[in-house]
């Protein structure tokens, strides 16, 4: 089997294009995924930034929720940024009551924890397992991780709050590496996927 992973980007809503570009730069084959049959064809998945309530609603409406949950349970590598982190949380705070998540990481995530758009910010983030200095963190109405279970590794914090985590094959960041042109977090994820192939 060819060792170039095929990585889908969940394309219901959000900054799909930026993730496709970042994944391609990290030497993966990247394609948008909106339907169950498209999901079945990828080795791994990125859940982009976007509006998590919209994304969750569309996933339910178009029959993607259960297929996604099944793949995550089955060990498919997944990386979620911002709204994607929310989708991967086993438990959510400050979400809508009817908001569904996929789960995948034993963590409690607080939605919009860093505030509204006027509080959105950029900062340098030290990321465990990524060499070459801190990564550029762009935080937009960003969530943070309130607490994690024993199986979860914290990879980065900012101002005392957890902003990057990994549990097994599932990775999540509060911030948006796809907006920076710095592809190291995507390369880290592509390595995770490659190791599992």
């Amino acid at each position: 089997m060819d060792n170039t992973p095929v990585i889908g980007v969940l394309a219901l809503q959000g900054d799909v294009r930026e993730h496709l570009i970042a994944l391609a730069a990290a030497d993966a084959v990247a394609r948008p995924v909106r339907r169950p049959e498209e999901l079945a064809e990828v080795d791994a998945l990125v859940i982009p930034g976007g509006e998590s309530t919209t994304m969750s609603k569309l996933a339910v409406l178009f029959g993607m929720l259960e297929p996604l949950r099944e793949r995550v349970r089955g060990g498919m590598p997944v990386y979620g940024t911002c709204a994607g982190m929310i989708m991967l949380a086993d438990k959510l705070l400050d979400g809508r009551e009817d908001q569904e998540t996929l789960g995948g990481i034993d963590m409690i995530v607080r939605r919009n924890a860093f505030g509204r758009q006027n509080e959105s910010f950029e900062a340098s983030i030290d990321f465990a397992g990524i060499d070459g200095g801190p990564v550029e963190g762009v935080f937009i109405r960003a969530p943070w991780v309130e607490s994690v279970g024993a199986e979860v590794r914290v990879l980065a914090t900012y101002d005392g709050h957890t902003v990057a985590v990994r549990q097994g094959n599932v990775l999540a960041t509060s911030f948006h590496p796809e907006l920076t042109g710095d592809d190291r977090v995507h390369a880290y994820f592509v390595d995770m996927v490659r190791t599992g192939l």
């Binding site: 799909v16 509006e51 509080e119 762009v138």
Partner: protein
């Protein structure tokens, strides 16, 4: 997308990357005009990525006439309190004090909008001076680039708001896309003259020629009334849509809002659009744009 300067050592708010990045998160989505908290909740329930808080939808502004201004802060705060999705609000063109007020209220995006009565017939607001990002309307590439030069972090094609008629939205989006395509074919020598003709900064013109797109997100607005309208704008290249009067001036707003969200996501799948279009009840009554007097064309506002 363009690579902006690298991250500052100390945290920084209101950077171009944070402002433009916010709009990137809205892509593929629908932003809905709402005039109260109840409508805002209907929009959020339907899957809107954001709401635009305003006192009267454009169709009513047309009907009522008079001067249209920024909305009452109380009403904007009620809407902010009612939903968890981003809230946008409109300032008049060039009315930077209305924009200051909206920023102080904590809105997530300011629309410097031709739908309101312009406050300045020469100048738009200096949008770099704000932490809150701005979206502005444009009918062509030069206008879009002038707004970006002033600091706009998102562009929407103007269309003709409050008409329920998509023809002007199509005209403006096609115009912008065609002018971008034309720039792609120019060599470096021609870009200087192109900048002069577009009445836009050379650096931005060069950036667009290289990227093949605007350096910010491009949505469509002004006249979308049906799921098929929204999908049409997406197929023509809009990265998302604003829907104003089209939802809450229709017979069944909740159903129509959800249907437009579906068609915007699956804009290239006629079966999904067909299903979304079934039994929506009355659409808003439209206006034929060629019968609109010049003075009543909002798209002409902005310079």
């Amino acid at each position: 997308m363009s690579t902006l300067p690298s991250t500052p050592q100390t945290p920084e708010t209101g950077t171009a990357r944070v402002k433009r990045g916010m709009a990137e998160q809205l892509k593929g989505g629908v932003i809905m005009d709402v005039v109260n908290a109840e409508q805002a909740k209907i929009a959020e329930d339907a899957g809107a990525v954001a709401v635009m808080a305003l006192e009267r939808v454009p169709a009513d502004i047309r009907k009522d006439g008079g001067v249209a201004r920024m909305s009452d802060p109380n009403m904007i705060e009620e809407i902010i309190g009612a939903v968890s999705i981003p809230v946008m609000a409109k300032s008049r063109i060039g009315h930077f004090v209305e924009a200051q007020v909206l920023q102080s209220l904590g809105v997530d995006y300011i629309d410097e909008s031709e739908v309101l009565t312009p406050a300045d017939e020469v100048n738009h607001s200096d949008k770099w001076a704000f932490t809150t990002p701005f979206v502005c309307g444009a009918t062509n590439l030069g206008e879009a680039l002038r707004r970006i030069a002033e600091g706009a972090a998102m562009i929407r094609s103007k269309g003709e708001a409050g008409t329920g008629n998509v023809v002007e939205a199509v005209r403006h989006l096609r115009q912008i896309k065609n002018e971008i395509a034309k720039l792609r074919g120019f060599d470096n020598n021609e870009l200087f003259a192109a900048a002069k003709e577009l009445r836009a900064p050379y650096e931005l013109v060069k950036e667009v020629a290289e990227l093949g797109k605007l350096p910010v997100v491009l949505f469509s607005a002004g006249g979308v009334a049906t799921p098929a309208d929204a999908a049409l704008m997406r197929q023509l290249g809009a990265e998302g849509v604003f829907v104003g009067s089209g939802i809450f001036k229709s017979g069944d707003p909740a159903k129509r809002a959800a249907a437009i969200v579906k068609a915007t996501t699956f804009f290239d799948d006629p079966k999904v659009i067909a299903d979304a279009s079934r039994n929506l009840g009355e659409a808003m009554v439209g206006i034929n744009c060629d019968t609109l007097p010049e003075a009543e064309r909002y798209a002409n506002r902005g310079w």
